[in-house]
């Protein structure tokens, strides 16, 4: 008997406003109201300014390692724009723009990279999780958050972000499988920016698209131009609606590009072709939307100047707030460990300044018996 075809699949890729400024009027119709378009543009510009300043802070020794978000502003922003305020945003570390849109004050991101845990103390009600440093781990949490929403019969969903490299980690595959098999209201949003530090996407995945990884899990999947805010919004609307109405997950692969180095500790010139970078500069999501707004007469020079002034001021304020935050004594770190501090830890905390050991040192005589004491006990 000849073998039968039991399954075939194809992957759609959505682009609406392309790099040459061509707009697909059909796909883009009524997608984003003009007022919102302007706000989205402004948010991207502010985020870009933030990125530039963060980079400078690192270079001048005022901040630690920082991963630039430059070039990827449209992805997380488009997603956050579509989501409801109580949907979970479970991010990695290149989603500043979406987080700012949701309402995370900019200084939180600065504090994180300034080596201060208070950057993770997310204000109540924002429904976001802290930046995820271990690659590929947070998608499982998003699946759990989505599961809880379903369990409670809330109309909430989760959207989790991660890079191309993250799709190689085992946890990613487990999250996809759980989401599909448990019918979870979740969107997996992959930012394929071409690189995982120095390793190109084609060394993470031998299939022509990352999107098709969803097929293997029985999940809807789609690709989009991640530097096109319209395309991102369109695929996110479909995916979030699917999640909300049918508890089915979606895997989105957004094609974008990391215009900066991996982080400020990296030097991409060691492994990346300058021509490739130049090509992607032409596809900058901010320039693209800006040109479109001008075409629609929604934007002009003076508005741009005013926006740049506003961005400067807002970012400067955020830097000030981050840099001027009061020092926390190390004692606070002990108190942060458990709901109720264990006795031994409390002792470490209380003796840390009096004992060499930050523990029950001789100075306190808390626990260590004296020689004389021992002799007395023995006798």
């Amino acid at each position: 008997m000849p073998a039968r075809t039991v399954y075939t699949a194809s992957i759609e890729s959505v682009s609406i406003l392309d790099e040459h400024g061509r707009f697909d009027a059909q796909l883009g119709a009524d997608l984003i109201p003009n007022d919102d378009l302007v706000k989205l543009y402004e948010q991207m510009a502010i985020s870009r300014r933030f990125d530039e300043i963060a980079f400078k802070l690192q270079r001048s020794g005022r901040m630690g390692t920082y991963p630039e978000n430059r070039g990827q502003e449209a992805t997380s922003l488009g997603a956050a724009y579509v989501l409801n305020k109580d949907d979970w945003l479970v991010t990695c570390y290149r989603e500043n723009t979406g987080l700012f849109w949701r309402g995370l004050p900019m200084e939180y991101i600065l504090l994180h990279w300034m080596g201060d845990e208070r950057g993770n103390k997310i204000p109540d009600g924002l429904c976001i999780t802290p930046l995820a440093i271990p690659i590929g781990t947070q998608m499982l949490h998003a699946a759990g958050l989505a599961w809880a929403a379903k369990y409670r019969e809330e109309k909430r969903i989760a959207c989790t972000f991660f890079g191309d490299g993250a799709t190689s980690e085992g946890d990613f595959h487990e999250a996809m499988n759980f989401a599909a098999n448990l019918d979870l209201p979740i969107v997996f949003f992959c930012q394929n920016n071409g690189w995982a530090i120095s390793v190109p996407t084609n060394k993470q995945c031998s299939a022509p698209t990352l999107a098709q990884r969803g097929i293997a899990y029985g999940m809807d999947c789609i690709q989009c131009d991640g530097n096109d805010i319209f395309a991102v919004v369109r695929v996110m609307k479909e995916a979030s609606q699917r999640a909300r109405e049918t508890n089915r997950p979606t895997f989105i692969e957004a094609l974008t590009y990391r215009l900066g180095d991996h982080t400020t500790a990296d030097d991409a010139r060691r492994y990346r072709d300058e021509a490739e970078l130049q090509m992607w500069m032409q596809r900058d999501p901010i320039i693209r939307l800006g040109n479109y707004l001008k075409e629609l007469k929604l934007w002009d020079r003076s508005k741009e100047d005013a926006l740049q002034e506003r961005a400067k001021a807002e970012v400067a304020d955020a830097v000030k707030r981050a840099e001027e935050i009061a020092d926390t004594p190390i004692e606070e770190y002990f108190d942060a460990m458990y709901a109720d501090i264990p006795e031994e830890l409390r002792r470490q905390r209380d003796t840390l300044r009096t004992s060499s050991l930050g523990q029950e040192g001789f100075a306190q005589g808390v626990e260590t018996p004296t020689k004389q004491g021992i002799e007395e006990t023995v006798n």
Binding site: T65, G115, G136, S168, E169, L345
Partner: protein, 322 residues
């Protein structure tokens, strides 16, 4: 003889061993074209080609799991895990397979691999780039755990690790990667695993440490003006009990210094061994100067967490005066 940093010493050891033994394959994230995020594998990709220097997908369990297969097939893989914080996904493969293969097959299959892992704090790195999990792995029977504190030792220990017939985790203290240079012979030499080094001799107190804190101990000892013996463990499993015992029997006082949290840290194991072998020689309770029992703080506070020279110095004074 060349004056090398710890990074350069490891790089040299890798090159020399790869030239000597074509069973060696190195694999990991960004170790090829990019030469590793700390540049430890700089130039190897060019020199040995992509067949032997392999940029893998981003998957630590995958890196360790395939390295185990390579090793069982008779090759000598040297996987790199980019930071100690990302050993966690590889923990399963290390502890459930690499560590047990020899014993459960009664030697029919063995896993002669060396995992290289940057470790520890003090370089203002982000979260999960500054931990010290060495005791976790020392606790797992079946693997050896090494941590050099100088360029000279790094080269000799790494060569021994690579040639060792069992799995070795080779922790490289990031804080020392470029902290100082040292004369490192071009010629081949090995430093046996399981042998500590007496860094400084003395008879008042014995200080036992390994990795980056060894340098802090040296500073503290110098400032103390006392006659203090400093032992750099170099290999933390198997521990060189003999060197420790000999020293503590002489001094009667011991301070153990490590970056990892105190609770169930390696200091506890060493203190027990001292009790077992030196009880009647002790003049003072054994003391530990360690990280606190908390999550490694982000970098703003890391120096308040780490056992820095000042805190060690206080302990020396207290223990000596007891």
């Amino acid at each position: 003889m060349a004056n090398l940093t710890l990074v350069q010493a490891i790089n040299l050891a890798l090159i020399q061993e790869m030239e000597r033994d074509d069973r060696i394959i190195i694999l990991g994230e960004d170790i090829g074209v990019n030469g590793g995020v700390f540049r430890v594998t700089e130039g190897l990709h060019k020199r040995f080609g992509e067949k032997r220097v392999v940029d893998t997908p981003l998957a630590e369990s995958g890196i360790l799991g395939t390295a185990i297969g390579l090793a069982m097939a008779g090759l000598r893989p040297i996987p790199e895990i980019q930071f100690e914080g990302f050993l966690a996904p590889a923990y399963d493969q290390i502890c459930t397979h690499a560590a047990r293969m020899r014993s459960r097959t009664r030697g029919a299959l063995t896993v002669p691999l060396t995992v290289r892992v940057p470790i520890g704090g003090g370089i203002h790195a982000p979260e999960l780039h500054s931990d010290s999990p060495e005791a976790v792995y020392a606790h797992q029977p079946g693997i050896k755990v090494v941590m050099p504190s100088s360029p000279y030792d790094a080269k000799g220990l790494l060569i021994s690790a690579i040639r060792d017939p069992d799995p070795v985790i080779f922790f490289e203290p990031k804080r020392l990667y470029r902290a100082f240079r040292e004369e490192v012979p071009e010629d081949e030499y090995t430093i046996p695993l399981g042998k500590a080094r007496v860094v400084a001799e003395g008879d008042e107190v014995t200080v036992i440490s390994w990795g980056a804190p060894v340098v802090q101990c040296m500073t503290a000892i110098e400032a103390s003006g006392k006659s203090i013996e400093l032992i750099d463990l170099r290999t933390i499993y198997p521990i060189d009990t003999q060197t420790i015992v000999q020293s503590v029997r002489k001094t009667g006082r011991a301070v153990i210094v490590h970056e990892a949290p105190k609770n169930c840290g390696l200091g506890a194991e060493i203190a027990s061994r001292i009790m077992e072998h030196c009880f009647l020689y002790l003049e003072a309770p054994i003391q530990r100067v360690t990280g606190f029992d908390m999550t490694m703080p982000y970098y703003k506070k890391e120096l308040e967490y780490l056992p820095e020279a000042e805190r060690i110095g206080k302990a020396l004074a207290e223990v000596a005066a007891y």
